[in-house]
């Protein structure tokens, strides 16, 4: 190895050493240069990124949930409000054995099976890694007991939370609706609307009724607290605070006392009632019976109760006034009469001779009047007062279905009224085109006949009926009905009206309105089908009875309520407005499977109008009367049977 020999030259070795030292020095410089380059990269080029990361590390945004707005009736009576209560909450990400923890908690604090079921349900649909309540509304005693044992339960905590309460229980439950815990679907909706950030920290959202419809007003704006936290997540200090803005209060047109009077009058019966102020479109009472207790839903309803509410044959969760669709029966007749007058098909004087049935030319099928043997000579006024079917069979035949359909559209039939609640049904205002579209079938003349008395394909909601009645009462002004009157800023108390603009005017001849109104007054005076309910009334009222057929009666058979299954019996209907000369209330009421409208629905209307005009106390009417012969319209028509929604 020759080079080693050379290296033994001391001077050569020395210079080689110097060279190598220099190389090492350069190597060190290169490494330090590398470090410097790394620092420049991190501290200059990526500085913004890392600075943001450091800020995100230290700053935590803590949402402050706003107070939800109140819901008040027209006199300021509370329908929905908030209170603070203590809840026992479990953080499932911290607690490993949930069952064991709940078990030992239950030794300290009473935990009902209902609470456990609800907890399980909330756990399943939990949207984030937060604490889930196992018990709400803890007593002072329970709080103290837990506090003394808290060291045994890491991940279990007591929190003060705002709760919603509906102090009136089932009263007006279909109007107020309820709030419930935010679920995945709500999250998606909120995200699509760009509102999700305002729900940081919110546990609840309006699910039905006004709580849902006015969610944007009621929720308020979530406040934010910027907190500096250390690596353990402990708050070190508050950096800034944006206070929450409470949600707005809703003041309704609805009068809770009137609502109570109406609901009490229903007693245990199923049905619906809508009362409107015909001069504003404001809804004064809105009943769907049976109702439900909205308080059950707030913390998440437990599954058995939920199932019971949904499978109960009385269907308490269905809003009958808004989504229930019923044939209007004879309450349709005043509108038919208006069509006859306005379209020039009938003069007031024109009278038919009613033999008790109607037949189409060249056909033997009999469309029967509710009164066997007929009413004899009947003009337009009498046709409403005594609810003559034959008059309207003939009228419908003479008008033809498309003329009727076009005319009725003016009253909002077949279209939503636009009430400020979700879930409004459209109803059906049938026409040739509608039948073709719906059944791919031709319209038969026979289909038209029963339309004249509000049967057949014709269905509508109570909301539509009440609104149309208001149009007769105010002679042609069509309102978009409104539950909410004012929206009130919770802090400044500034009020903003939910302006009810008339949607349109219906310009009929004044005589047409006058004739039909007079006939409707005739209904509630002696000789009319609804007079018994309004005996001794201290005001004049316009009304119309109706009986809405649930099942078709075969040709030649007689309607016999006692032989029918209870749920196949006719619905009792009544529409009314009062006082007749200057109406301040217009309403429609339906009692399911109660029979004739004059005997079974008109008394409810009387109760509500009495209370509205005089504040008269109410006596409940519990016994459902048998379907009376005084009511109109149990007829065979061979058409589609009207099923309850």
């Amino acid at each position: 190895m020759p080079q080693f020999v050379e290296l033994k030259n001391l001077e050569g070795e020395r210079s080689e050493f110097r060279r190598r030292t220099a190389i090492a020095g350069i190597f060190v410089l290169v490494l330090f240069g590398l470090l410097l380059a790394r620092f420049v990269f991190l501290q200059v080029m990526k500085h913004e990124y890392y600075y943001t990361q450091a800020e995100a590390n230290r700053i935590s945004l803590v949402p402050i949930v706003p107070n939800r707005g109140l819901i008040l009736d027209r006199h300021g009576t509370v329908l929905a409000h908030n209170f603070t209560a203590y809840t026992l909450e479990i953080n499932p990400t911290v607690v490993r054995d949930l069952d064991a923890t709940i078990e030992s908690l239950s030794q300290l604090i009473e935990i009902a099976p209902k609470d456990r079921r609800r907890f399980k349900r909330l756990l399943d649909e939990s949207r984030k890694l937060g604490a889930i309540p196992i018990r709400t509304r803890l007593s002072e005693d329970e709080i103290a007991r837990f506090a003394a044992n808290r060291y045994r339960f890491p991940g279990v905590e007591i929190n003060a939370r705002l709760f919603r309460r509906y102090p009136n229980g089932t009263l007006a439950s279909h109007v107020v609706g309820y709030i419930g815990r935010i679920n995945q679907k709500d999250m998606e909706t909120l995200e699509a609307d760009g509102r999700l950030s305002n729900y940081r920290g919110s546990e609840h959202i309006g699910k039905t009724g006004l709580e849902q419809m006015y969610e944007r007003e009621l929720h308020g704006t979530t406040g934010m607290e910027q907190v500096e936290v250390d690596s353990g997540g402990r708050a070190v200090r508050t950096l800034s605070r944006t206070p929450p803005v409470s949600g707005n209060n809703l003041q309704l047109h609805l009068d809770l006392r009137l609502q109570e009077a109406a609901e009490t009058a229903f007693g245990g019966r199923r049905g619906a009632l809508v009362a409107i102020d015909p001069s504003t479109g404001g809804v004064l009472a809105f009943v769907s019976k049976p109702g439900f207790d909205p308080n059950l839903f707030i913390d998440g309803i437990d599954p058995p109760t939920w199932n019971e509410l949904n499978t109960h044959p009385d269907r308490p969760m269905v809003n009958r006034a808004l989504s229930g669709q019923y044939p209007p029966g004879s309450t349709y007749k005043p509108f038919m009469a208006l069509a006859a007058l306005e379209l020039g098909k009938r003069t007031p004087q024109y009278a038919i001779n009613d033999p008790g049935f109607f037949t189409l030319p060249g056909n033997s099928h009999q469309y029967r009047d509710w009164k066997p043997g007929g009413h004899g000579s009947v003009n337009l006024h009498q046709s409403i007062v005594i609810s003559c079917d034959t008059y309207y069979y003939q009228l419908a035949f003479d008008l033809g279905i498309d003329t009727i359909s076009n005319f009725m559209r003016q009253f909002g039939f077949g279209a939503r009224t636009g009430l400020d609640l979700e879930g409004e049904a459209i109803g059906i205002n049938p026409s040739q085109e509608w039948k073709q579209r719906r059944f791919r079938q031709k319209w038969y003349v026979g289909d038209t006949i029963s339309i004249g008395i509000g049967q057949g394909y014709n269905v509508m909601t109570l909301m539509q009926m009440a609104n149309a009645t208001a149009i007769i009462a105010n002679k042609g002004t069509v309102w978009r009905p409104r539950l909410v009157n004012l929206i009130q800023d919770a802090t400044s108390r500034a009020q903003r009206a939910v302006l009810a603009q008339p949607l349109r005017r219906i310009d009929f001849k004044p005589e047409s309105w006058a004739l039909v109104q007079a006939a409707m007054v005739g209904v509630t005076t002696p000789g009319g089908t609804g007079h018994r309910a309004f005996a001794d009334a201290k005001y004049i009222v316009g009304g119309k009875t109706g009986t809405s057929q649930v099942v078709a009666i075969k040709q030649g058979q007689k309607y016999d309520a006692s032989r029918l299954d209870e749920r196949h019996r006719d619905h009792a209907l009544f529409i009314a407005y009062a006082p007749a000369d200057n109406p301040t209330i217009a309403l429609a009421v339906l009692v399911e499977n109660a029979g004739g409208g004059g005997a079974n629905a008109a008394p409810l209307a009387r109760t509500v109008i009495d209370f509205f005009l005089f504040g008269k106390p109410v006596t409940p009417i519990d016994a459902p009367a048998m379907p009376g012969a005084a009511a109109s319209g149990a007829t065979s028509n061979g058409g589609a049977s009207a099923e309850r929604d």
Partner: protein, 367 residues
């Protein structure tokens, strides 16, 4: 009287290398300032560190005043003692944090690998000094064996960081002693080829550290946490830093081990790129002075010792800052003179003592 003091002063400072001392003191002051912030203004920590500095200065002074002719005689015995202790650790050592590194001697516990850090370069330098005139390839093989043995023992503890650093200090000696370039390149190539093999014998946690280096986000709350948080601290410092005592990563407890191995992140967050550049410069001052002493060293032994001490110091600084800024895996290497911790400080000053002894003895010879 004045003469007596003057004489004492002259005698006491005769073996002090002033340029090196100044550079070292700059780093110590920087370290104290940073420690004050990193420890959340703990005076306890400051006092302890001051005490350690005192001890370290004493060690340095003693070593500086020891002629290298005596040091060379102790080199091999020290090496053998350290090796024996390493063997003892392997047999009866205490296991702490999953690694067998400590030897319990009753009154004090000891990490023999720390002793080896000093003993190995000395022993190698002694060996090359001894065979100076007859250096052959065989000598390099034997020298390699001298340092491979302790490195393997330390690797088994396991302590990858220390093993690599001791190995590198041995390599520096071999390099400076004139290991032929051919062999250096051949070993380099073989080393790269052996990487997969090394991977296969590594412990899981060591592999994890390497993987985390490549992608810290793999395990942001576990093994990657250190790197992520220290990188954030460094990067968020920007040009001028957040200011002394103002580092949020530091004071809100996001930085782990911020007084010891990760103290550079604290410094970097609070003093920024400008501060980092100054710190690099301070380290370079020490290294430059060390290399100058190396170049001027009179004998093979002193040259190799001075070179190895200097380059090892540089390596420590580079590895620590590289680890904190996320370009090297997390190995337990403190930042010399800055990190809190007595052992590392004393062994660094032991090295400075050697440098000073070499430098001043040469001057004395010259004068």
């Amino acid at each position: 009287m004045r003469n007596v003091i003057e004489t004492l002063w002259r005698k006491g400072t005769a073996h002090i290398d002033v340029p090196l001392l100044i550079a070292v003191c700059l780093l110590l002051v920087t370290g104290m300032v940073t420690l004050y912030s990193a420890s959340n203004q703990s005076f306890d920590r400051m006092e302890t560190k001051l005490f350690n500095i005192g001890v370290a200065f004493a060690v340095m002074w003693v070593v500086a005043n020891t002629p290298m002719s005596q040091v060379i005689r102790l080199a091999m015995p020290a090496y053998l003692a350290a090796l024996a202790l390493l063997v003892a650790v392997a047999l009866v050592g205490d296991v702490r944090n999953g690694a067998r590194r400590w030897l319990d001697l009753g009154v004090l516990s000891l990490q023999p690998s720390e002793l080896m850090k000093i003993a190995l370069p000395l022993a190698l330098a002694w060996y090359f000094d001894r065979y100076e005139s007859t250096l052959r390839l065989r000598n390099f093989v034997i020298a390699a064996a001298l340092f491979v043995l302790p490195v393997l023992l330390i690797l088994r503890q396991p302590d990858l960081g220390t093993a690599l650093l001791i190995a590198s200090s041995g390599c520096f000696v071999l390099f400076l002693a004139g290991l032929p370039w051919k062999i250096i390149f051949a070993l380099g190539a073989a080393g790269v080829a052996a990487l997969p093999l090394a991977w296969s014998v590594m412990h899981d946690y060591q592999r994890t550290r390497v993987m985390i280096l490549l992608d810290p986000s793999q395990d942001p709350l576990g093994a990657g946490y250190h790197t992520i948080q220290s990188t954030i601290a460094v990067g968020s410092g920007g040009w001028f830093g957040k200011g002394w005592l103002q580092g949020t990563q530091t004071h809100l407890d996001f930085l782990p081990e911020r007084t010891t191995d990760f103290i550079f992140a604290v410094y970097s967050e609070e003093f920024g790129l400008l501060g980092n550049a100054m710190l690099l410069l301070m380290f370079l001052l020490v290294i430059a002075r060390g290399l100058v002493i190396t170049l001027d060293a009179p004998t093979v032994f002193t040259r190799l010792v001075a070179g190895s001490v200097t380059l090892t110091f540089a390596t420590y600084a580079f590895v620590n800052m590289g680890m904190v800024s996320g370009i090297l895996p997390v190995v337990g290497v403190p930042l010399p003179l800055i990190s809190y911790g007595g052992t590392a400080l004393v062994s660094a000053f032991f090295g400075f003592g050697l440098l000073m002894s070499i430098s001043t003895n040469r001057k004395l010879i010259k004068s």
